[in-house]
């Protein structure tokens, strides 16, 4: 066990804070340090909670003398936060909570450890945008998308869009970078005085058929969308992604990214738009994007004994829609893992909204606590499948399959807590 450094000696903004805030930061660090040392995880959330108990206004205090940008969405917020941090990091010091602790306690913990003037790039849970925006007066807000997720737990997406809209009216940021192809996000962002509209094409539109403004019907075409009942329609865009090329400010950027898939091009377009709005040179920002090779273990290829596996994360139908782009090509067997713990949502009915048929003839091993739900979904999809009890036995079944190719890593695609389990299994976040 490696002990963390003594928390009392850590550097940070503590010396500029009021005594109460300073006490809150120190107490949070001590608790986080203790939690880490009993191996409860990173300790950041529980440390942040303790800090906030002592000083509820700590987030305002910790962001008083820094630039703050908020990134929120159903999907892509962690990746976009990481990409934006990397793009901004080419020109200034940056602090971020990109490990995924995206509510106020996690954010407080991340900021308490950083210099007081570092730019804060904050991934924020969809439900926490309002309170984080009010506390931080963030001058840039990046809003990517809203779609169904954690059906039993998260509010209906239209209510979230309304919360965002009210938040942007109450605490208007200098710039909002928003997705013009998502009607829910568009409606929310229209409440802000200055919006950079990003058009990346949205393939998943199943959650936006009803207009958030008038509950009329939204008609989608190849080039845009418009409500049939009111004047809500796709705004004209400032940043465009077409065929992998990002166009903005009269420039085009088409270099390779280290992260795979169309979805990461989309995330990169938002990160570049935000970095540019915050004054970073575009070429410099684009170079910064290429430094991002994995996102908290996503896309990692790891060695397990004499087998290599590739870890993929997909949490909800919109996420699977993008992940299947990476899974539909090859013919080798793969493993899919689904849990339904509190962080996943207890209701995995959304498995039926995912076009798993795109996997084609690949042999699939279903694991995770809800492997039987997966098996029934695969059965009705006419997908060649089998159920296994855990990752080890799934790998063994894959290796016995005639289609197994030992030169290729085995794809293991999982939803949230299943992914965390597998990541821990291969050594955790690097």
């Amino acid at each position: 066990m490696t002990a963390a450094p003594n928390p009392a000696s850590a550097t940070g903004p503590a010396k500029n804070l009021r005594p109460r805030a300073r006490l809150a930061v120190t107490a949070g660090r001590v608790v986080a340090w203790a939690s880490r040392n009993v191996r409860f995880g990173t300790g950041s959330v529980i440390g942040g909670r303790v800090s906030l108990l002592i000083d509820p206004n700590l987030l305002s205090e910790l962001t008083a003398s820094r630039d703050v940008v908020i990134v929120s969405a159903t999907n892509g917020k962690t990746t976009t936060t990481k990409l934006l941090s990397s793009a901004l990091g080419t020109s200034r010091p940056v602090v971020s909570n990109w490990l995924g602790a995206n509510m106020t306690p996690g954010i407080v913990a991340a900021l308490a450890a950083a210099n007081a003037t570092d730019t804060a790039v904050l991934e924020v849970d969809e439900r926490w945008v309002d309170s984080v925006l009010r506390a931080t007066n963030a001058n840039t807000v990046v809003l990517l998308n809203l779609s169904r997720d954690q059906l039993d737990r998260t509010q209906e997406v239209r209510k979230l869009a309304e919360q965002w809209r009210i938040a942007l009216q109450t605490t208007p940021p200098r710039t909002v970078v928003a997705n013009a192809d998502d009607p829910l996000v568009t409606w929310a962002a229209l409440a802000a005085p200055n919006v950079v509209w990003v058009g990346t094409g949205q393939e998943w539109t199943a959650d936006a058929a009803g207009c958030p403004a008038c509950s009329g019907r939204i008609d989608f075409t190849d080039t845009g969308w418009a409500c049939s009942g009111c004047d809500l329609r796709r705004p004209s865009v400032d940043v465009v992604l077409t065929n992998g090329v990002i166009a903005m400010n009269g420039r085009t950027m088409s270099g390779e990214l280290a992260l795979p898939g169309r979805v990461n091009r989309v995330n990169a377009a938002f990160a570049l738009a935000a970095a540019s709005a915050m004054g970073t040179d575009l070429d410099q920002a684009f170079d910064g994007l290429d430094d991002v090779r994995e996102i908290a273990g996503r896309y990692r290829v790891a060695q397990l004994g004499d087998t290599r596996i590739r870890l993929l994360l997909a949490k909800n139908p919109a996420g699977w829609h993008e992940a299947l782009e990476l899974l539909e090509g090859p013919s080798t067997p793969l493993i899919i893992a689904i849990n339904a713990r509190i962080a996943d949502g207890h209701d995995p009915s959304w498995l039926w909204d995912v076009a798993y048929e795109r996997i084609g003839q690949r042999f699939v091993v279903a694991i995770g606590e809800r492997r039987h739900d997966l098996a029934v979904r695969f059965r009705y999809g006419n997908i060649n499948h089998i159920v296994a009890d855990d990752l080890e036995s799934a790998i063994e079944l894959v290796r016995q399959s005639p289609a197994y190719d030992p030169t290729m890593p085995i794809d293991v695609a999982s939803n949230y807590t299943a992914f965390q389990d597998h990541l821990e299994h291969v050594g955790g976040v690097l």
Partner: protein, 268 residues
Amino acid sequence: MTSPLTSRPIDSAVRIVSLYPDLLGTYGDGGNALVLSRRLEWRGIPVEHITVDAGEPVPDSADLYLVGGGEDGPQVQATRELEQSQGLHRAVGNGAVVLAICAGMQILGHRFPDAKGTSRPGLGLLDCETIRVDRPRAVGELLTASAQLTTPEGIIELGQLTGFENHAGRTIPGSRSQTLASVDVGEGNGDGTEGVVTGKIVGTYLHGPALARNPLLADALLGWIVGASAMTPLDDVDVASLRTERIHAARHHELAPRRSWRDILRRS
């Protein structure tokens, strides 16, 4: 392969319509259409699946209509469009089978509450009424005792019904309707019963999707169209495992199986 109960011509495909999945498709209920289609295909019975999005005309000549669950706003929009079209009303008049889930069941009834809690007129096809009650939203596993459909031709056994419920309203069955079962675990209609059946219209709060978890219910609906004798046994091994696991989980209130303290500290 046709039965004496129906006038369907031999060789014509069973026509299944998914109504407004763009408005009422939030909770995976689209899976019900896939389950029905496959269970016909696997038995060699031709099937045609038609998706009708909002704004499109509702055909009145199909055999089976599926109405799913959705959010409050789109629920009102769907009611408006179905009322205007009258296609579903005509189909029901012609003897079509309907499966309506959650919000779908609510709007097919006489009245239902909208997003603000105001009672609105429903389509009046299903003999029930849904009211807003002052209690927390019912969210969790729903498990019933053995369910039955009583028809003029006899009783159809459906077994225990299992699914996931997620709704706020209380549904009061009318005198011309029957319920599917009594509730073992969960809320259901709110009075200890689950589901409303009027003629060949079946309403239920079960997501999961309902027919993926309850194959006897799927076959009962199909049996109304092609005859019960055509419902030959299928390989339901995967479904049986899922049912065993979910029924156990519901009985033991295992909403979050194996959730450790470490999980709680790290992610709550």
